[in-house]
Each structure stands twice: as C-alpha cells, then as structure tokens.
C-alpha cells in the first residue's frame, strides 16, 4: 500500500456540493471546512463542471464520493469506470475517495442504484477483492460507506456491522460511517443502532455522513431529501462520543434546499463536534 493517507479531511463539518449551489459557493466561498462531490458528475471531457470543480478545489479540500463503482457485483469492475476515477483523482488530488458497500450491475446491465448485498462469505470475498483492485489502482486506501437497505437475505451469515468490520480489517480500507443509514437500517431491520456503532473499529472511521430520510410507508427510505432527524442527531452524538471528532458531511440530493439550510445543518453538526473537541482538549 502507498504512503498516501486515506484522508486529509479536517475533523469538521462539510456539505455535499450539488449543481444548484456551485455558482454561489464559487462566488461567496462560505466558511466550510471541506466539500464533497459525486465523482461521476466529473467523469467528463470538459465544459463548465470540471472547470468549476478545479476552481473550488483551490479554496477547499475535496472529497470524491463515488456512486457507481459497484464493489459488490459478481461481475468484474468496469475497467473504464476505474480509469476515469483514477484520472479524476490525479486532477483533483482529493482529501478522500469513497465508494459504497453495495452492488449495481450484473451481466453487464446496470441498475444505477445502491443495491443490498447478502452478508455471506462469498460476498465478503468479492467486495474485498474489488476494494484491493481499486486501492491498488489509486495507490491509496478508499473509504467504504454502509448503505440503507429495505430488505435482508435469509442466507446472511453475519450481521451488517460484522461484515463492514471484516472488510476494513481485511483490506485496510477506511470507513465512511453513514449514521443516517445505520439508523434507517436499525428501524427497518429491528436492531439496536448503538450495537452497530460499538462493533465498528473507531480508528478505521475516516468520515461520517448525515442526511434525512423519508418515513412514509412501511420502511424508512434514505432519500437525502430532508433535514437530519432528531433520532439521527442523537445517534450522531453517541457516535462522536465513541469515535472522537470525525469529518462530518451533510448530504442532500432530492429537492435540494437553499444553501443556507445546508449551512445550518452543518453548523448543528459542528456544534456537536465542538463539544467533543472541547472534551478532548
């Protein structure tokens, strides 16, 4: 493995930067410790998007967050996708590179979604092999994010947190610990979210995600379309108390609100981080 650290993100609050806010962030440069973008939005040859990202990179550390690598597919990785990520990493020199613990394509056909894996030894082997390929191509550890799920498979051989911890241990990858996804899964699959937090090796956690869910229907749905729920703030507080201060991101992808709303959510996360920094000092 290379000497390049997995992350140089500062342990403060940041926001996911989406298209509607790019112009304002470029013009006003709000006081944020760092920004995260979706890697695939910049897999393009030219035009306004890469130019804007290059300009923003001069003012902020950037985290590249991928949604399409499909680390858990039985199919091999799409080589072209990895090449594009590698080129983007080279151009942007991000503070962190993350992907999701999920699958998205099979037999060459892509469903372009974050689909749930069975927690089996076979899936564990596949995910670890793919992560090692990506880490070796990028010459740096990646951050792996746990996803929300609306079903579980009868063949599961272990709990989600055991699977996640095993991947980190085997591959040396870091974890992007999504507190909202832990909460959503705890409600949907009936477990204690604190048991999940406790089972995760804190030193492997390099970033935290917070977002809002949709509570209509029988399952909580991870929509990234609302403010962080009170129960998720509580779980975040407990998570930070256990792991220490970690770079924390507000994600909002559906019905993206005014930038002020995101900044307000980030300020709330920062207040929780500050109490933790104060205790540490």
């Amino acid at each position: 493995m290379s000497t390049n650290p997995a992350t140089s993100l500062p342990p403060y609050a940041g926001i996911g930067l989406r298209a509607p806010h790019i112009a304002r962030v470029r013009a006003e440069r709000p006081a944020l410790a760092w920004l995260e973008v979706h890697s695939e939005n910049y897999f393009v040859d030219g035009g306004p998007a890469p130019a804007a990202l290059a300009a923003i990179r001069r003012d902020y550390p950037i985290s590249l967050h991928g949604v399409g690598m499909s680390l858990g597919s039985a199919d091999a990785l799409f080589a072209g996708h990895l090449t594009k990520l590698k080129e983007l990493v080279h151009r942007i020199e991000p503070a962190a590179v993350s992907e999701h613990l999920c699958w998205g394509h099979i037999d060459g056909r892509h469903l372009n979604d974050l689909l749930p894996l069975p927690f089996t030894d076979e899936a564990l082997g596949v995910v670890c092999e793919r992560i090692e390929i990506v880490q070796s191509a990028l010459a740096r550890p990646i951050l792996l994010e746990n996803v929300s799920a609306y079903l579980r498979f009868t063949d599961d051989a272990m709990a989600e947190w055991e699977f996640v911890a095993a991947v980190a241990k085997r591959t040396g990858c870091k974890l992007l610990f999504d507190v909202n996804n832990v909460y959503v899964n705890a409600v949907n699959h009936d477990f204690d979210p604190l048991a999940y937090v406790t089972a995760i090796p804190g030193e492997a956690v390099a970033e935290i995600h917070l977002a809002g869910f949709d509570a209509r229907g029988a399952c909580l749905i991870d929509t990234h379309g609302a403010r962080v729920a009170p129960a998720v703030w509580s779980l975040y507080q407990a998570t930070i108390e256990r792991f220490g201060p970690k770079p924390t991101l507000i994600e909002w992808d559906t019905d993206v609100p005014a930038l002020e709303v995101l900044l307000d959510e980030a300020a709330q996360a920062q207040a929780i981080l500050d109490t933790c920094h104060a205790v540490a000092a």
Partner: protein, 267 residues
C-alpha cells in the same frame, strides 16, 4: 443457497420484470413486510432515478408529452435499452431511436428529432475544451495556401437536420422563453449547429450554405473544396464572413496547414 451471481441476476429480474419466480429465488426475510413489497421499494427507486435523470436531460420531451406519459415512456425505454454504464449521467442516447418506434409517441412524429437535439445539447455541455483559433497565425498564412487549409470544429460541435421545425419547438419550450408558443409544423425543416461557446451551449439555425460549409469542415475537407460546395448550395454565400463569425463564436477552433514534405517540394 444461490451464488452471488445467481442472487444478483434474480434481483435484477425481479426489479425489471416484476418476476415472481425470480423473487422467490432471492430468499428475502419477511420481518413484517412481505418480500414483494420490499422489492417494490427498490423498483420504485430504480425507475424513479431513471425518470429523474432523463427528465433532466430531456426537459422539452417531458414538457411536450406531459409527466405521466413521460414516466411510462421512460420505464419502457429502460426495459428496452438497459443502462450499460456505471455512470447514469451518460444514459439516454438511444431515447430518440426508441421514441421513433414507441407506438403512442408516433402521433408526435417530431419527438425523436427533438430528443436528438436535447441529447446533442447535453453532450455539448460535457465535450472536451478547446483553445480559440490563433487568429494571428491564420493571418500569416499565404493567400495561395488558403485553399489547402483544413479548419477544425470545436469538440462539442454537432450538426443536426430535421424535416420538422425543431429549433422553434425546442426554443418555445425553454424555461426562459417569452412570446407566442405556437409552432407551425408546415414551416419546414431545420439544419442546426449545436456547440459550446464561452457562454454555454448554443443552438443555431443554419442557412444552406452554412450547413454545407460546416459539414464539409467536419468531414475534414480542404477549404477550397468547402468553398465550392457552400457556394453551390447557396449562390452568393459569403464564405469569408461565415468563417469570421464561426471563429469569433468559437464553433471553429483551429486550422491545419497541409503537410508538405521536402521530397514533394523538390522531387
């Protein structure tokens, strides 16, 4: 216990085709919500993503057919032309082909051409960048060599033709359009240039001479041949004025001089 490949194959089939057998093969835990309802959540998410993505790429098509019809058409398109890429942003290039054969859309027979235009606009926005043409270097080219020059279009430049007035259809359906939105389908077809300038993607209507000129340049013809073809297509066509305009708007970004080797010059 199914292999990972078998499980993912059944999952994809259960989502795409609402296949009961595939659903049974998956082995989904019930836990208060039946497996079909759980898979339906994923089906809604997957199709919802595609509807949202394609609505962003094809806003005029969506406006022309209305949201309910657009959603149905996208769902059918996704089943007929599955995404083959990890990056959903690049999905939708075959929508115009699909619409040409989609029964209910055939009533609006200009839809496929409007879809081609929207896709061209989308592609122009992400094509490679190019420096402007070096005007001083062009000025230094000896007059007798001009007929041999090969001009180069911006990497984003695309030429489109339609039997329908798709420029006006597209224009009156833009969010910033003000004025009458009546389009007379009898007004005839369009030849269009789509490219990205410093101000964003532009869609320009072309005269016969402009169309032939740009098509000949795109086909890498020498400027002498470009000139002949353009004046044939449009008697009195002012080629040097058109060249100046396209260099200024940056639809044309470079020129290549002929490769003249020593042996050719001095046999």
């Amino acid at each position: 216990m199914p292999s990972l490949r078998e499980l993912q194959r059944s999952f994809a089939t259960a989502i795409m085709d609402a296949d009961a057998a595939a659903l049974g093969d998956l082995g989904i835990v019930d836990n208060g919500l039946d497996p079909a309802a759980r898979i339906a959540i994923y089906r809604n998410n997957v199709f919802g993503n595609y509807r949202k993505t394609l609505a962003a790429t094809f806003p005029v098509i969506k406006r022309l057919v209305g949201k309910p019809f657009f959603s149905l058409a996208v769902d059918a398109f996704v089943r007929a032309h599955p995404s083959m890429r990890c990056d959903v942003n690049r999905y939708g290039g075959e929508l115009s082909l699909f619409l040409a054969d989609y029964p209910t859309a055939r009533v609006l027979d200009y839809l496929p051409d409007v879809a081609r235009l929207e896709w061209a606009v989308d592609q122009a926005n992400i094509a490679a960048d190019a420096a402007p043409l070096d005007v001083a270097a062009l000025g230094a080219v000896p007059a007798e060599m001009f007929a041999e020059l090969r001009f180069v279009l911006h990497p984003s430049a695309q030429l489109l033709q339609s039997r329908y007035p798709i420029f006006r259809i597209w224009r009156v359906n833009q969010p910033d359009y003000v004025g009458s939105d009546v389009v007379d389908l009898g007004e005839g077809g369009d030849a269009l240039l789509v490219f990205r300038s410093d101000d964003g993607v532009l869609v320009e209507r072309l005269s016969a001479g402009e169309r032939v000129m740009l098509a000949a340049i795109a086909a890498k013809r020498a400027f002498g041949s470009v000139a002949e073809r353009a004046s044939e297509a449009e008697p009195g066509f002012d080629l040097s004025d058109a060249l100046r305009r396209y260099v200024q708007s940056r639809a044309i970004v470079a020129f290549r001089t002929p490769i003249v080797t020593r042996t050719e010059n001095h046999p």
